[in-house]
Each structure stands twice: as structure tokens, then as C-alpha cells.
């Protein structure tokens, strides 16, 4: 009841806002004061070259890496230790670049484990959620008994995304979902990301495939050597001369 009221009142409320985020590996700082915010029902993308700190940013947001800075989640500042498990309970979820599947388990078991935290906190709707995920990814339904380690690259990405959705997240973070996939599969994955947006989940998408990412997203950040160098609505970024030259590869065409 309570959460329904909140949804109603703030249609475009900010799900997560991170300010002045800093992450250091040993003595080397990888992120120097990065600020991002993601709203409900919005796809936000972070583009940038290899090694700019995109994966580090997601790791820090998800609590996998120790980070300093202010985090405001669902309107409340996050205090104390930002443990991954606590953030999962709050509705944040990450599909990591390496997928991190349970390779020796079946597709179905991988998906069910995605609902572990909801199950643990007393929800018993995992079977309905499983049907919803199978509807979104019919391929996974066909292969539900197959061992995850034997799936193709595209299917593994679908499984990783489906597993994250089993947690019914408020914020879904995707790290390079197109990495290493064939163009047709990439198209399919992006179509599904677009469809997910309609469910109201906020999506933070980190991509090297800047063209596809800017096409699908509402807002974008350009991350270069640990700093946000440019940000704005995706449609504007897509026509920005610097972005075109550096990331869309059209600079030398004329």
C-alpha cells in the first residue's frame, strides 16, 4: 500500500543518485568523483573507451568495490556498509560483464537462484516470476534443463539477464550486455532491454557499443579515464561532434 502511494506521487522519482564517487585500487584512483543519477522507468547509459572505469563504476554502485561518495537510493541516503546482499534486498541488481553464472547448474536452477533473496525474505512468487522470465526469453524456456555452462554466448547473456530479473529489481545494471555476441543476437538483446523499460524498472546500461546504447537510452554519460566528460539526453549526445568522432566512428566519413 505504502509503496503504491509513493509510486503514484513521484512518477519520475530518482531511483539512485551517486555523488562524488571515488574508487581506488591500492593507491591508483580509478574513479575521480563521478556523479550519476537514474530515474524510474528510464534507461541511462554510460559509454566510454576500454579502461575508462565503466565496470569499476558498476562494481562500486553494487557494493562489490569499496567506494567513497554519497549514495541516495529511493530518496534515502545510504549509510553504513554498502554490502552487496543489503543492496540486493533493496532491489538493486547487477548483470556483470563476466555473467557469473552457476555453470554446472541447469538454466532453471540458475533462474530460481535469482529469486533467492525474495524467497528468503518470505516471498513465494518465484514460480510466477519464472514464467514471466520464460515469456521474455523463450529460448531459456526451451533450454530450462540444460546445464548453464553449455549455453551459447547469447543464451548465457539472456540467462544472466533473466536471473537478475527473477529478483524483481527496481534498478537493473547491465555491464556490456553485447560483449562478444553476434550482431543478430545483440539486436535481440537490445530489443529486450527496450521491452524491460516498459515494466518500469530503471536500467543503467554500460556499453562499448555506443551507437546501440545511445539509440535505446534516455540519458547518457561519457566516462573517460575515471571522469564524466560529457552528459546529456541520449539524442543530443548522439549528435554531439565529440561523441560522433570518438565513439560513433563517423568522424572520417566525409
Amino acid at each position: 500500500m505504502n509503496s503504491m502511494n509513493i509510486n503514484h506521487l513521484h512518477d519520475h522519482e530518482i531511483i539512485l543518485e551517486a555523488r562524488h564517487l571515488r574508487v581506488a585500487y591500492a593507491k591508483v584512483e580509478a574513479l575521480h568523483g563521478v556523479s550519476v543519477s537514474i530515474r524510474r522507468g528510464e534507461i541511462v547509459t554510460v559509454i566510454g573507451p576500454n579502461g575508462a572505469g565503466k565496470t569499476t563504476l558498476l562494481g562500486a554502485l553494487m557494493g562489490l568495490l569499496p567506494a567513497s561518495g554519497d549514495f541516495i537510493y529511493l530518496g534515502k541516503p545510504q549509510t553504513g556498509e554498502r554490502e552487496v546482499e543489503r543492496l540486493v534486498r533493496l532491489g538493486m541488481t547487477l548483470v556483470p560483464e563476466k555473467r557469473e553464472l552457476f555453470a554446472e547448474m541447469s538454466v532453471e536452477d540458475n533462474l530460481l537462484l535469482g529469486a533467492f533473496d525474495r524467497y528468503r525474505s518470505g516471498h513465494r512468487d518465484h514460480l510466477e516470476t519464472l514464467d514471466e522470465v520464460f515469456e521474455l526469453f523463450p529460448r531459456l524456456a526451451e533450454r530450462r534443463a540444460q546445464v548453464a555452462g553449455t549455453l551459447s554466448g547469447g543464451e548465457r547473456q539472456m540467462l544472466a539477464m533473466g536471473r537478475a530479473l527473477m529478483a524483481k529489481p527496481k534498478l537493473l545494471m547491465l555491464d556490456e550486455p553485447s560483449l562478444g555476441l553476434a550482431p543478430l543476437i545483440i539486436k535481440e538483446i537490445f530489443r529486450i532491454i527496450g521491452e524491460l523499460k516498459k515494466t518500469g524498472v530503471a536500467i543503467l546500461l554500460v556499453e562499448q557499443n555506443a551507437r546501440a546504447a545511445l539509440q535505446i537510452s534516455d540519458y547518457g554519460y561519457v566516462l573517460e579515464t575515471g571522469e564524466i566528460t560529457l552528459e546529456g539526453p541520449s539524442s543530443e549526445l548522439a549528435t554531439d561532434q565529440r561523441v560522433i568522432e570518438a565513439y560513433l566512428g563517423l568522424g572520417h566519413k566525409h
Binding site: 554490502e83 552457476f102 518465484h126
Partner: protein, 345 residues
């Protein structure tokens, strides 16, 4: 050597082997999920047997006080953290489990003596007294070092083992105990007497193994433990905390240990330090399975039991030597056939 002796020794070997198999499974489980080589596994066998014997003799087992001490320490450490983080809702379960229940047990046992209770209740009470020490020990000894290397965790294990042995001597004294058999039933098989207790051990172990199988294959918590063993980062991202997995694991390991101790107390004399050797034989089985394969570990443990039984007949002075020497060819074979993978730190 005739058929009768062969059967008798085989019976002995399978009985002990079944117990070693249970312990081997526990060791593989704990190692796979937490990377801890759980040397104190055997101490739970001894604690289980000795606590049951104390209860039956009408004495107050010292494990009650240990449980209370461990529980109070856990409650103080975790309670302080919960207060600091403002998570007041989690305080009552923490206090009830770690302090309330041990206090209740201690209070009740000073009033009533369960010496004349039915065996099933005595067994249940023993399990309630000893099993909770598993997760408590995880919390106090292993959790603060959960990300340390396998070697450091092994050193912690040795420390826990030595401490538990010392406390065992303090609580139960140096005398060995043997509890009365669960059943006097026996019959002859091909001229060799077959004891009811022997059958009970084998059947109960088999049932427990089947139960564990269903737990890991059919329940979400079991799958979560397997997931943690397979991919720790992936498991954390699903909201499976390593601490939950660790505590659950050590609860299972403690339960298996106590259960084994209760099962063999009527057929072997158990001293405060008997657990170590029993656990070590389970460990040989686990090594045969490469600390990774459950079925191979269980079969290896039964092999250990048989080898021990037959070598005690032919060369009883060397029986332990023969059993532990089994590790050498196994390690050689393992190191020649497995590709070495660097541990990720």
C-alpha cells in the same frame, strides 16, 4: 582366514566406512563452500558421543557451558553491530538463538536429569546442545577471516581443533565412554553374527546421505550452497551472503558430526580425543574425492573403512599407517591427472 572372518571384517569395515563417508561428505561440503579444511569435524563426533553419555549417566555435560559461552560471545559481537546500524528488528532472533535457548537448556538440565528419558529424547537433546556450536564457531573463528587464504583458514582450523580437544578433556575427563546399543537385535549371516547396531549405522548413514542429496538438489537453500561453492561473486549478486552459506554449512557439518558420534558410541569406545582420528579417516576419503566430488569421497571413505578393518586383522600394529599411506598414491595420481589452476585471490 575363512569366509566367516572375511564377512565379520567386511561388516566392521562397512560400518566404520559409512561413518567416514558421512564425515568425508561434510568435509567436502565445508571446503567447497567456505574453503575451510574443517579439522574440528571429528571433535563434533566426540562431543556428540560424550554429551549423550553424560546425559545418560545423569551428569550435566560441560558442552552446555561451552554453548552458553559461545552463544553469549556471538550475541555481544553481533548485537553491538546491530545496535550501531540501527537494525533493532534482528535483535530478538539473535538473542533467542544464541543466549535464550542455551540458557533454557542449562536451566532445565540443572533441574531435571534426563538419565531416564527415552533414548530418542536424549539424542534430540544432544543434538540441540552440540549442533548450534557449528554456526557459532563459524561466526567467531572463520567469518572474520572469510576472505583469507586457504592456508590461514587451515591454521584457524588447527586452533579450533586444539581448543575443542582441550575443552573436551576438561568437560568429560580422560575416561572413554561407550553408550548402550540402540538395539539388541542380531542375527547370523553365512555363519557370521550381524549386529542390529551395525545395520542401524549403515541404514541411518544411507538415509542421511539421501537426505543431503535431496537438500542440495531440491531445495533453494541447498542450491544456494552449491551456487556459493561454484561462483562466490555470482552467489553474492543473488543476495546469498557468504556468511549465511558458511553458517549453514557448519550447521550441517556439526549435525553430521554429532549424528555420527551418536551412531558409533555404542560400537566404539569414544575418548575426548577420539574424534580427531575418526575425522582424519573421513578426510582421507575426502582427499580421494579431491575435496570436490561427493560420490567419490563417500566411496573413498568406505574403502578406507574396509582397508582399516582388513589391515587390523593382518597387521594390526600398522593399521593406521596403512590407512594414511593410502593418501600418497591418491595424491600422486591426483597431481598427475589434474590440471593445476591457480587460486583466485
Amino acid at each position: 582366514m575363512d569366509l566367516q572372518i572375511l564377512l565379520l571384517l567386511g561388516q566392521d569395515g562397512v560400518t566404520n566406512g559409512a561413518i567416514y563417508a558421512l564425515l568425508a561428505l561434510a568435509l567436502v561440503l565445508v571446503f567447497a563452500v567456505t574453503r575451510v579444511i574443517f579439522i574440528p569435524q571429528g571433535e563434533f563426533v566426540a562431543y556428540g558421543a560424550l554429551t549423550l553419555a553424560s546425559l545418560q549417566a545423569g551428569k550435566l555435560p560441560g558442552t552446555v557451558w561451552l554453548l552458553l559461552a559461545l552463544g553469549t560471545t556471538v550475541a555481544v559481537i553481533d548485537g553491538w553491530r546491530l545496535l550501531r546500524d540501527g537494525q533493532y528488528g534482528k535483535l530478538p532472533p539473535l538473542l533467542i538463538f544464541n543466549v535464550g535457548l542455551p540458557l533454557l537448556a542449562a536451566g532445565a538440565l540443572t533441574v531435571v536429569t534426563p538419565a531416564n528419558w527415552p533414548l530418542s529424547l536424549q539424542v534430540l537433546l544432544t543434538m540441540l546442545l552440540v549442533i548450534p556450536m557449528g554456526p557459532m564457531i563459524y561466526r567467531l573463528a572463520y567469518q572474520p577471516l572469510a576472505n583469507a587464504s586457504v592456508l590461514i583458514l587451515l591454521i584457524v582450523s588447527v586452533a579450533v581443533h586444539v581448543t575443542m580437544i582441550g575443552l573436551g578433556l576438561l568437560f568429560f575427563g580422560a575416561e572413554g565412554v561407550r553408550t548402550p546399543a540402540f538395539t539388541e537385535f542380531s542375527f547370523e549371516l553365512a555363519g557370521a553374527p550381524l549386529q542390529g547396531q551395525t545395520i542401524l549405522v549403515v541404514v541411518a548413514s544411507a538415509l542421511l546421505i539421501i537426505g543431503l542429496y535431496f537438500f542440495f538438489e531440491r531445495t533453494l537453500y541447498g542450491k544456494a550452497l552449491r551456487a556459493t561453492a561454484m561462483n562466490r561473486t555470482g552467489a553474492r549478486l543473488m543476495g546469498i551472503p557468504p556468511t549465511l552459506a558458511g553458517k549453514l554449512c557448519l550447521t550441517l557439518a556439526a549435525a553430521i558430526g554429532v549424528f555420527s558420534g551418536i551412531l558409533i558410541a555404542p560400537i566404539t569406545t569414544i575418548y575426548y580425543d577420539s574424534g580427531f582420528l575418526i575425522g582424519l579417516k573421513g578426510f582421507v576419503g575426502a582427499i580421494i574425492g579431491g575435496l570436490a566430488s561427493y560420490p567419490v569421497a563417500a566411496l573413498g571413505a568406505i574403502l578406507v573403512g574396509l582397508l582399516e578393518a582388513y589391515s587390523s586383522f593382518w597387521a594390526s600394529a600398522y593399521k593406521e599407517v596403512i590407512v594414511f599411506t593410502l593418501i600418497i598414491p591418491v595424491l600422486l595420481w591426483r597431481s598427475l591427472t589434474t590440471r593445476h589452476v591457480e587460486e583466485e585471490e
